[in-house]
Every structure is written in C-alpha cells, then in structure tokens.
Amino acid sequence: MWIVDIFKRKNRQHKQTKSPKEEAAERLETMLSRRREIVKMIPVEEFEANSEEIKYAVIETLSRKFNIPPEKVRVDYHEQNGYIVIVTNVNFK
C-alpha cells in the first residue's frame, strides 16, 4: 500500500498552487501593511497639548470608515506604562 501513498502525496503536492515561501510572504505583507496603516505612536507631550484635536480626528476617521454619524463613536484614553492607550467604542445600531 505504500506505493499508493506515494502517488497520493505526489497528487497533493501538485494541488498546492503556492509554495510555502510565497504563502508566507503574502501573509506577512498583509499583516505588516495593515499594521502600518493603523498604528500611530504619539509622544505624550504632543498628545497632552492636542488631546481634543486627536480625539476628534479619531472620531472622524472611524465615522468615515464605518459610515456612521460621529455621535455614535465614543473615544476615551488613558496612560499605561508610559504609552497612551486610545479606547474607541463604536455603536453600530
């Protein structure tokens, strides 16, 4: 039966369209490009000086992204280990 197994394995290999390397490169690209779009680090001083503007910019971005009125987006923030954590709450109803 081992000879049948060999053919089966060969068949499975043929069915794979992408190599593991191509697949990994594609996943990596998707992960990293998405992260670069979202993550933005704001120095504490800059945040303290412009917190209301930043809060409004977050509301505006989310309301545009999800196509909802700005009143449905709530933004809160707090400091944690030296970083500013912005928490957003979107009401889709």
């Binding site: 390397k21 990994a24 490169a25 990596l28 990293l32 030296g82």
Partner: protein
Amino acid sequence: MADKPKVFVVTSGKGGVGKTTFTSNLGCTLAKMGERVCLLDADIGLKNLDVVLGLENRIIYTSFDVVNGTVSAKEALVKHKQLKNLYLLAASQVATKEMMAPEDMKRMVQEIYDDFDYILIDSPAGIERGFRNSVAPAEAAFIVTTPEIPAISDADRVIGLLENYGFTEDRMFIVLNKFKANMAKRGDMLDKNDVEKALAMRLIGVIPDSEEVIIATNKGIPAVLEDGVVIGKSFENIVRRIKGEDVPIDDDLKGVSKGFISSLLSMFKKR
C-alpha cells in the same frame, strides 16, 4: 552621541530567536579582533548570558548591586576566561525588571562608557519595562529575527517602537538568524530578500542555522571561539559591516551548503 555608535542593544520582540547567543558570539568576535568589549545582561530574572559565556560560577555582583550602590559598575564586571578584553556585567536572577529604571541603566553604562570600545546590551524578549531599560542607554540597535512570520512581525513592531525612541534607520541593524539555506532554496522558507522587503530595511547579516551553536552553548563556549565553525564568517562580516566596510551579504552563506564529499568528510572529522 558618538559618530560611530558603541552602545548597542540586541533586541527582537519575540523570544527564542537567539538574542543571547548573538550577543555572546558578536562580543567574542569583536574581542578576538582586539576590541575592548562589555556585555551587559539586561534580562533580569531570566538571565542567561553568563551561562552561554561559561561564567556562571564567577558572578559575585550583578547590575542590581550596582543600582543599589553596593559596588561600582567596574567592580561588578567579570572577565572572560579566554578573551582578556571581554567583560560581562551580569543580571540578577532574584530581582525583577521592574526593580530597575531606564535612568539606572543609563547611569550604569555611562560609568563604563570610556573603558570600552563596544558595549552590547542583551535585551529580554517583549516590549515592556525590560525592553525600555535596555534601549535607554543604547546608541544603536541590532534587531534579531528568524525567517518565520511571528518573529518578523515582532521585529517590525520593535522597529516602530525604536523609531519612536529616536533611532534612525542607519542605527538599526537587522540580523537574520537561524537561516536554513536549503529550505529557502526549495521555496519552503522565507529568504533574506523577503525579510528585507517586509521590514523595508537592509540586513546587516545572515547567520545560518547550525548545530554547532547548540553544542557550544551547552559547553559554555560561544561557537565562534571553536575552530572552523560555519557561523564564524557571518559574525566577522557583521563586525566589518558595522565598522563601515562594504561586505556583500551573500558572503555570510558561503560554505554553508556542503557538497556530498565535504559532508562525508566532516562526519569523520566529528568522530
């Protein structure tokens, strides 16, 4: 900050990529080339650099004693057994990372700054307090990654954090560790171009995956101190590159893929 950086942090984000092994081998390579080198273990609570260097029985004082004011940083240094210009400032196993602040690290490095040509700080995994402590006194960073998605993804995150700490691109050096040339050749693994493309940065070196590292680590002797090890060339090239020499990255993998005859010969050599 000096024109050429001399305080380097070795970081990665992800654990298990080989930061401590890289730090010890790079330190030994620099010391072999005649540089005065200090290795600083910043992985408080989970320290290993002393073990990799085979110095675990010689530790009397740690960085925690320096921060507490029990001894000076110079008094806490331990000299390497073979390389007389290589020193270790060990980390405490009983303290925690929270017991030290970035300012403490800066003061400690400042105290020994003029006595060394290179100071390498072995950072713990993660991006919390231990990472921030390690980065604080550094002038440049080695970001160690392996050719796997989680490691590259974490490296990307660390690059972003380092940028926020003010590190410019010319002060961040990506090291691709545990690279399996044969797998990459078969298309089963990401290769160095994929990593450069994903991180949008040039590599400073590629270190091939090697069994010699495991054997050497268990002996407490960094692999580059053994004769004829494959990774020795990669470390020499990395040193030449950080000193400003233009060494092609493909040089790091020369001699990695052995032919049938040389593989057979090396088997007999091992016996």
